[in-house]
Symmetry: C2
Subunit: 372 residues, 2 copies
């Protein structure tokens, strides 16, 4: 697994410093693991970070002792703290905060449970912190929305690898095979292509199962003429890619074929709407209106897409606006999926999904696989 | 995917009713997805639940419309609420709570972020709820610690399938292959054995990588005589199994062979300590003392095991006690991993892991694969 080079991490730390200043904070307790990975290059299943604008106090447990020391060697802003056996992460955060007493320290309100927050508040209070921690929203998440050049290169590389293996996989979605068997091929192909892991549970949904946008892959045998929705992705160097195609197994089936073409058209309409300055909702509307003109408005039961990066679902939402919620307009460097679909309970469904990078004057496809 | 039959869900709802009464609550807002799956049999990547002792108001979005309706048909205590397009789960929780105004309603403090809690509190207040929601700890998690007979049967089945495929996989960990290639075989074999997905990122760590308890699987080619730690598991009907073996690729290597035997011995010592009434820490101590007698105390850098069920890590922790934290004593029906290890940075490491069910008078192995 490749980790972003030190100069990229220095730039991210500089951006964090500016964001902290703007929020009137001296430091931030970071508890989101993707946010920690973004700032430090440390990918772990447990961790905590106390970040100032110049120093990253990074807590890891004994399982990660070597990885922690390596990261600190490569990126000297990291001060590694190895968790003593039997100690808790949150106690270790309290201990590390002792050095910052009297400063304005934030926490990630969207990434800390009420229980952990209660613990930190109580312990800091008994350590003589009058004010406790300050709730913040999206300080690091906000930095992650527009991808830097290293991230764009990883997502582009992932998109290419995914496209190459998809061509081979899709030609083997044959009647008589089970959904799980096709999914096994995909998961193995992802590994062999160099992905660290599937980005999510691979979906192979045949016939009536294709009507469930989140059906997975079961023991159902694919029947001739059925629609099969295949939705899969891999994680490369920490970054997620995501692709969906719908194929007709065996002899062509006119209703299915027509539906595939209508959904492809909706995706093209969404793509044409992508450029800096546009509201994400406008991209959703473009796909929705295209399907509406085909009489499929009711059949499109989810949003058009989502941001993609260290997480499989991240900002922005490309979807109907939620009451009271504001999405930032699209900007160069954002990476999105465009995945309209149409579903008919009991019969089947279609979804077509690709990943795009928002550029200065429009968008670039990151995945490239024949759609029909 | 099989879902627990209605009579099992009725029994769980009865147990929830008792737990709510004991906590002095009329209802609970459940936001942990595994807790929702446990109570309702609805497995989704997003959901929310308002549970009273007799009724389960289950919220799902359009992607899950069919699955939601099916669950309500099978288990009539479920009142399905389909989220309108563009609506948020938390707004829907607020709306559904209107019917419970004036009652004592709890929330899961360990499974709700500060941000979401602030939203619920604010919205309920403006809807005229004086008191807001009451913080609770582990009400549903507590029910899940001891597995019911359906869960035990799923975990036993999973352990058997995992053991069968492991025997085949382990004989193909050969010098010259890459870690990723072995991992690809494992992930595909899990699918073909009927597992829904890997329970976690499959680990294949060869040579010096084996010294990292959480190394994954990369492009490293396995060298003759190297230790290879292989840690993998699958999810069957929602339930996780977890197995680790360490093999020596190619010609035997005496230091590695001896280390494998010492870790096997530590695992046997841990197993001998498992029975109802014992503190989980005593099981950890048994493994730790065994490794200590072999001069390997320092090399064992993690806990002995963890609970296993709908999540890959759940209660109880089988590990050194954390300051201020109390683990319940072992009881029949708990399912644990026993996974001692010994690691030497730069050289390699060994871990041996199996799953056990705590029985009335000791423990039963759920996995059965030759250890050396």
């Amino acid at each position: 697994m490749q980790i972003a080079p030190p100069e990229i991490h220095v730039a991210r730390l500089n951006a964090l410093r500016t964001a902290l200043e703007r929020a009137g904070l001296d430091a931030l307790v970071v508890t989101s693991l993707p946010n920690i990975a973004y700032l430090t290059g440390f990918f772990a299943s447990a961790s905590a970070l106390i970040a100032t604008g110049s120093e990253l106090r990074l807590i890891g447990d004994g399982r990660y002792a070597e990885a922690l020391a390596e990261r600190a060697r490569d990126f000297p802003a990291i001060r590694p703290i190895e968790l003593p056996a039997g100690a808790s992460y949150d106690q270790s955060v309290v201990d590390a905060l002792a050095a910052l007493r009297g400063l304005r320290v934030g926490f990630e309100a969207g990434h800390l449970t009420v229980r952990r927050h209660q613990f930190l508040t109580r312990e800091l209070e008994s350590a003589g912190w009058g004010d406790g921690l300050i709730a913040t929203d999206d300080i690091v998440d906000g930095l992650r929305i527009c991808k830097d050049r290293w991230e764009a290169s990883r997502l582009r590389d992932g998109g290419e690898r995914l496209s190459t293996l998809a061509k081979c996989i899709l030609s083997n979605v044959l009647a008589g095979r089970t959904e799980a068997d096709v999914a096994a091929d995909i998961d193995a192909a992802l590994r062999r292509a160099g992905f660290e892991r599937p980005a999510f549970d691979t979906i192979v949904a045949a016939g009536p199962n294709a009507a469930r946008p989140h059906g997975r892959a079961g023991q159902r045998r694919i029947e001739p003429g059925e629609l099969v929705v295949i939705d899969f992705g891999g994680v490369l160097d920490g970054y997620c890619t995501d692709l969906t195609r719908t194929v007709i197994a065996g002899p062509d089936e006119p209703r299915g074929r027509r539906l595939i073409e209508q959904v492809i058209e909706a995706q093209a309409a969404a793509f044409a709407a992508v450029r800096p300055g546009v509201e994400p909702e406008a991209v959703d509307t473009a796909a929705r209106e295209s399907l509406g003109r085909a009489g499929l408005a009711e059949a499109f039961t989810h949003g058009t897409g989502h941001g993609l990066g260290l997480e499989i679902h991240e900002a922005p939402r490309v979807s109907k606006r939620r009451a009271g919620q504001v999405e930032p307009p699209l900007a160069a460097g954002m990476v999105l999926t465009l995945e309209p679909g149409a579903y008919f309970a009991g019969w089947g469904g279609v979804r077509i999904e690709d990943d795009v990078l928002v550029t200065e004057d429009g968008a670039e496809w990151l995945t490239d696989v024949p759609r029909a």
